[in-house]
């Protein structure tokens, strides 16, 4: 038996046994190391007869490949087994809780303001703002409510000085005055913001939110007012149909004035807007009084239009089923978490106002 055959048989039988990685590496080195058995055979090639050299070399290469493949196969098997064994040990209870996360929330009033702005944006209104501290003129006098007017009693005003010249605005209407004094007609604005009245009980908070609307142009009449509010209420409550009622009322700064009721019913303890035969007052509005226009240097013979004021907190309560106004400002973690909105839920026209 040739040396080659001997080597082959010997090692193949060796490799059939159970070997660890070190033993395999030893075999590998015994065969293919610098002085390994196979390596040595290669060195012999030169010394072999030319007639047999070719066959020898061929046989040697075959044996080399055979043994090498076998060793690699064995090594792979072991490595794979090792990894599997390791992975088996690394198994972890994936039902353990994830790293903790906290979710921030947007306050329902802020969300509602964004919803309102989004709706009015569609029909061309832009957003204006005014200061929380107002002078008596902008809050009352310019709005056709002179000092001796009984309507002033309806606003329980917070004053900042004894002379009653500076106050916390009782409504967002002074933004009308500021806007009209600053620019030239036409005007088409909404003004959401904080408002204040010294009134505090279950249904009144000394601070609340209103959104003012103002549209002044040539030929804007009460039909436009009705259409605008009809559109807004439908969009806001995300219903196809609403029942809306205009009722005559009185505000010094608009004439004719109206209060607007929407129809609703209570179903399973929940309020359903747009159905039923109950009426709910949700806003006040009217045609801007010529005296107001004169006060802001707008010619009432050329320009006319409407204004409205809506309680934002109340709208939020109606839409989102919140019962207690006071809770809006109590900062109870549980309440904020329950009624708050995800900051990624930005009310937009194309995605819808709410989920």
């Amino acid at each position: 038996m040739s040396d080659l055959k001997k080597i082959k048989d010997e090692f193949i039988s060796k490799l059939k046994g159970k070997l660890d990685l070190a033993e395999l590496n030893q075999i590998k080195s015994d065969l293919f190391g610098k002085n390994g058995l196979v390596s040595s055979q290669f060195k012999k090639i030169g010394t072999i007869d030319a007639s047999e050299r070719k066959k020898f070399a061929s046989d040697l290469n075959i044996i080399k490949d055979e043994l090498q493949d076998l060793i690699n196969l064995k090594i792979n098997e072991i490595e794979k087994a090792n990894i599997n064994e390791k992975l088996e040990k690394e198994k972890i209870d994936v039902t353990l809780p994830e790293r903790s996360f906290v979710r921030g929330k947007i306050h329902p009033v802020s969300q509602t303001i964004d919803e309102i702005s989004s709706i009015f944006s569609e029909i061309g209104f832009s957003v204006e703002e005014g200061p929380d501290v107002e002078n008596e003129y902008n809050n009352f006098t310019a709005l056709n409510t002179p000092d001796n007017h009984p309507a002033r009693d309806m606003h329980d005003t917070f004053y900042l000085d004894e002379k009653k010249e500076r106050l916390l605005r009782t409504h967002t209407s002074p933004v009308q005055i500021r806007t009209m004094l600053k620019d030239k007609p036409p005007f088409k604005i909404i003004a959401p913001g904080r408002t204040y009245r010294s009134d505090s009980d279950q249904t009144h908070s000394p601070m609340f939110h209103q959104v003012e609307g103002l549209h002044i142009d040539k030929n804007i009449n009460m039909g436009h007012l009705k259409g605008c509010l009809n559109y807004f209420i439908k969009e806001f409550f995300e219903v196809k149909k609403i029942k809306m009622r205009f009722r005559p009322s009185h505000f010094p700064f608009t004439e004719p004035s109206a209060e607007v009721d929407i129809g609703y019913e209570i179903k399973d303890g929940k309020i359903i807007i747009g159905e039923g035969d109950q009426w709910l007052e949700i806003l006040g509005c009217g045609m801007v009084h010529p005296n107001v226009l004169k006060n802001v240097k707008v010619d009432p013979t050329k320009f006319q239009g409407f204004a409205f004021g809506i309680g934002i907190d109340r709208l939020a309560m109606l839409k989102y089923g919140i019962n207690d106004l006071r809770a809006f400002f109590d900062c109870d973690y549980r309440w904020l978490n329950h009624f708050g909105f995800d900051p990624l839920d930005v009310p937009t026209n194309y995605r819808g106002l709410s989920r």
Binding site: V133, F158, L160, L168, C331
Partner: protein, 801 residues
């Protein structure tokens, strides 16, 4: 304004039902607030007399009364009123009765061990008045009614209307009837004046002083002699009770009736108690009088008073005085019917903090031409009920009523309201409302009825016409979806961006009041001006907030008390720097308490710290488009922050305006407020201090270019004085070779062993990359040396070997 359908029918002829009435009232702007049933339930309330009172055995303030309710046996009733005394005639509610004020059903109840069968009622419990001391006191005349129902049998419900301040005419039943008739709800019954003989002269002289600010322009009066003041006849009593008024005596009841019926307030004086004559004048400073509410009022100069030689008799149009009030034994009456200026009434009432029915009416404006009608109506009733002789009517005037005339352009209606009504219909409505119309070429000349002080302009006429025609006729014109101006300004967009950016970092948005507790505010006020509210709802809400922290900390504390430990809240809103309009800033203020991770199986527990807040602020600002690598940060912060653990952020090295503060809240404040948490970290971002670039984000961005040449990271450790800030090292390094140094990161700060005292080691990893070539060892070596050399020279640092 309380009315009944029955009373309305005195002035209105109609076959329509109450349901239609309620709808129509609301449709024409006379809002129905509530409808109360005055039917069978009320029959349970009986006139009763207290026979005996004893002190309650177990309660000092209670009495046990034996009450005659017209039955054989006396009823035992426990009562807490001080005026419950033997002999008092009052109103008794038996078990089963529903108390109007509270809407609760009475039951037989043990009160401190003594069984009480029913209740003795106060006027307020019966909704007869808003406030009352003790139980109702009825006059002796009611003795014969004991056991009978106090309230008359009325089929008519009590309708409470909310009358807007512009409609004084509808503070009288007749005015309401007129409006209804104009709107097609029945027809107005013309008032018949009863003829009475006015023989004698009015002998009491009346004079209105012509002085500056005189609040009375006309004073009508008549003298009624030899009357016998008595109890009102049943029809009158029923009428008053039906609208929730308490009958007193015929004379008072008649004046009240005329006031409610035609909104003509009157006042009856005991003529024998008036010294010589009436003088209507301005009050002198310090003058006093006792009013009919039994309070003494000290007057300021210039209030309109009715007086005689002895002094003030009453405040004109507001309240009479006790000295000249009518009693049951009054013989001779002076009846007053005057016109008082609304402004004067309002000023006086406001100064004296007085609110009466007369004041409410006069400040809205009484029909100046109703003086005589009112006097005649009342005088004839007095004569009918109390007898006596009525004098001629005397009217003193210092000013005459001027008729108001409006030229009304018929086309203006459609222009404002958007629909059309015929000229015929316009004339019909206005005539029904009492206007006198003269037709002109292109307009109508309208004489405004004297009872409508609210009407002086064309627009007022338009309002009347649309109100009566019906708001349901207004068309709905759909809005056009067109936008010529952007909805939000750049600042408003930034506001909304910051709001949502902060919320997205785990903060719950709160909205708190713009005012706050002074003591909390003082912690965060620094040198800021304190802005007090003159009339706060409570002393704890007495100042405008100088910082949002005061409220956030207060509410954070409440939430911690609820058992929540790790919490982040924020608010975006105004803080105030002064009491002038506009002296306010918009601040985003955040507050975090507790730990970053607590009881975690996976993460190491640690307190929340200022670098959490700093990350939230810096991340938010960079999300908003500001470049964090340009920020400049130092440690000068307001005194409510921990002096060593807080910082402020500027958007760049120019340090123009503070963009934000962040840091721990000062431990002293935590101690004073007694808030229990591991750590309390806050931040404030100042919206107005964030510069707006004027360019869109797209335009702000430089050309897109990146380098694909190999980058190298090199680590350095510098030993520097403790007071050298990391920011300084970074700034120096970034200036060494801005083109090649693409990133600088501090990865370790070390003090202690192997580092000299007062020094620290800062380890920095620097990424070096060229946009032109791959840097070779030589290039890198050069930059390394340059970095070390520059840092050592500029900061006194030594490279750590």
């Amino acid at each position: 304004m309380k009315i009944t359908f029955d009373w309305l029918k005195d002035h209105l002829k109609t076959n329509l039902k109450e349901k239609n009435l309620l709808e129509q009232l609301t449709n024409i702007g006379l809002e129905v607030e509530s409808v109360e049933s005055l039917s069978s339930d009320n029959q349970l309330f009986k006139v009763a007399k207290i026979i005996k009172t004893e002190k309650h055995p177990n309660a000092d303030r209670l009495k046990v009364c034996d009450v005659n309710v017209g039955e054989k046996e006396l009823k035992k009733v426990v009562c807490g009123a001080t005026n419950a005394s033997e002999g008092l005639i009052t109103i008794y509610a038996p078990p089963g009765a529903i108390i109007p004020k509270t809407n609760t059903k009475l039951e037989i109840a043990k009160i401190r061990g003594v069984t009480s069968y029913g209740m003795l009622c106060s006027e307020s419990e019966l909704n007869l008045s808003d406030e009352s001391d003790g139980i109702t006191e009825l006059s002796k005349k009611y003795e014969k009614n004991i056991g009978k129902s106090y309230f008359s049998k009325s089929k008519s419900n009590l309708i409470d209307l909310s009358i807007t301040p512009n409609r004084p005419d509808c503070l009288g039943v007749k005015g309401i009837a007129r409006d209804l008739a104009a709107s097609g709800f029945g027809s107005l019954i013309a008032s018949k004046e009863k003829k009475i003989k006015l023989k004698t002269k009015q002998t009491l002289k009346v004079k209105i002083n012509k002085e500056k600010g005189q609040g009375c322009s006309a004073f009508g009066s008549c003298l009624i002699k030899n009357v016998k003041n008595t109890e009102s006849p049943q029809w009158l009593k029923d009428k008053l009770i039906s609208v929730g008024q308490k009958p007193i005596s015929a004379i008072v009841d008649i004046t009240n009736y005329v006031m409610l019926d035609i909104n003509r307030p009157l006042h009856a004086y005991d003529a024998d108690k008036i010294e010589k004559g009436i003088i209507v004048r301005n009050s002198k400073s310090g003058e006093e009088f006792t009013a009919l509410d039994n309070k003494i009022y000290k007057l300021e100069k210039g209030m309109c008073v009715i007086s005689d030689n002895k002094g003030v008799l009453g405040l004109g149009g507001i309240i009479g005085g006790t000295r000249s009030g009518t009693e049951f034994d009054t013989k001779n009456i002076l009846l007053e019917s005057a016109y008082f200026d609304p402004r004067s009434i309002r000023n006086t009432a406001k100064k004296l903090n007085l609110d009466t029915d007369a004041k409410f009416r006069f400040e809205r404006g009484i029909d100046p031409l109703s003086i005589e009608t009112g006097l005649k109506k009342a005088a004839s009733l007095i004569q009918e009920i109390c007898g006596g002789e009525v004098s001629k009517i005397d009217i003193q005037k210092i000013e005459s009523y001027k008729t108001k005339i409006i030229n009304f352009d018929v086309n203006s209606f459609e222009n404002i309201v958007g629909f059309k009504i015929s000229e015929k219909e316009i004339q019909r409505i206005l005539t029904d409302l009492g206007f006198i119309i003269k037709k002109k070429k292109n307009s109508l000349k309208l004489i405004v009825p004297s009872w409508r002080p609210d009407i002086s302009k064309q627009i007022d006429i338009i309002e009347e016409l649309v109100r009566i025609s019906g708001y349901d006729k207004i068309k709905t014109i759909d809005p056009i979806k067109d936008r010529s101006k952007s909805t939000l300004t750049q600042t408003q967009r930034l506001f909304h961006f910051l709001q949502r950016a902060i919320a997205s970092k785990g903060y719950l948005e709160t909205i708190t009041w713009s005012f706050t507790d002074q003591s909390y505010n003082n912690h965060f006020r620094e040198a800021g001006k304190e802005i007090k509210i003159v009339n706060p709802i409570s002393s704890e809400l007495g100042v405008l907030r100088n910082s949002i922290f005061s409220n956030l900390i207060m509410y954070m504390s409440k939430n911690l008390d609820r058992g929540f430990k790790d919490l982040s809240i924020f608010e975006i809103g105004p803080v105030f720097t002064g009491s002038k309009p506009g002296e306010q800033k918009t601040v985003v203020c955040g507050l975090s308490a507790g730990k970053k991770s607590r009881l975690s199986w996976i993460d190491k527990e640690r307190n929340i710290d200022l670098f959490d807040a700093k990350r939230d602020v810096v991340q938010t600002l960079s999300e908003a488009g500001y470049h964090s690598d340009q920020f400049f940060i130092d440690s000068k912060t307001p005194n409510y922050y921990h002096p060593g653990k807080s910082g402020r952020i500027f958007l760049d090295h120019k340090k123009d305006k503070v963009a934000a503060y962040f840091g721990e809240i000062h431990p002293n404040i935590l101690k004073k407020i007694d808030i229990k948490t591991e750590n309390l970290i806050g931040f404030e971002i100042f919206l107005e201090n964030l510069k707006l670039s004027g360019k869109t984000l797209k335009d702000q961005k430089l050309k897109f270019s990146v380098s694909d040449f190999q980058k190298s990271e090199r680590d350095f450790a510098f030993v520097v004085d403790k007071n050298v800030e990391a920011q300084e090292l970074i700034s120096v390094i970034s200036n060494v070779s801005p083109n090649l140094i693409s990133n600088i990161k501090v990865f370790d700060v070390y003090e202690g062993e192997n580092i000299p005292d007062n020094q620290k080691s800062i380890a920095i990893s620097i990424t070096i990359q060229s946009s032109e070539k791959t840097l070779n060892d030589k290039d890198l070596e050069k930059i390394n040396n340059s970095i070390i050399e520059t840092v050592e020279n500029k900061t006194g640092a030594k490279i750590r070997s």
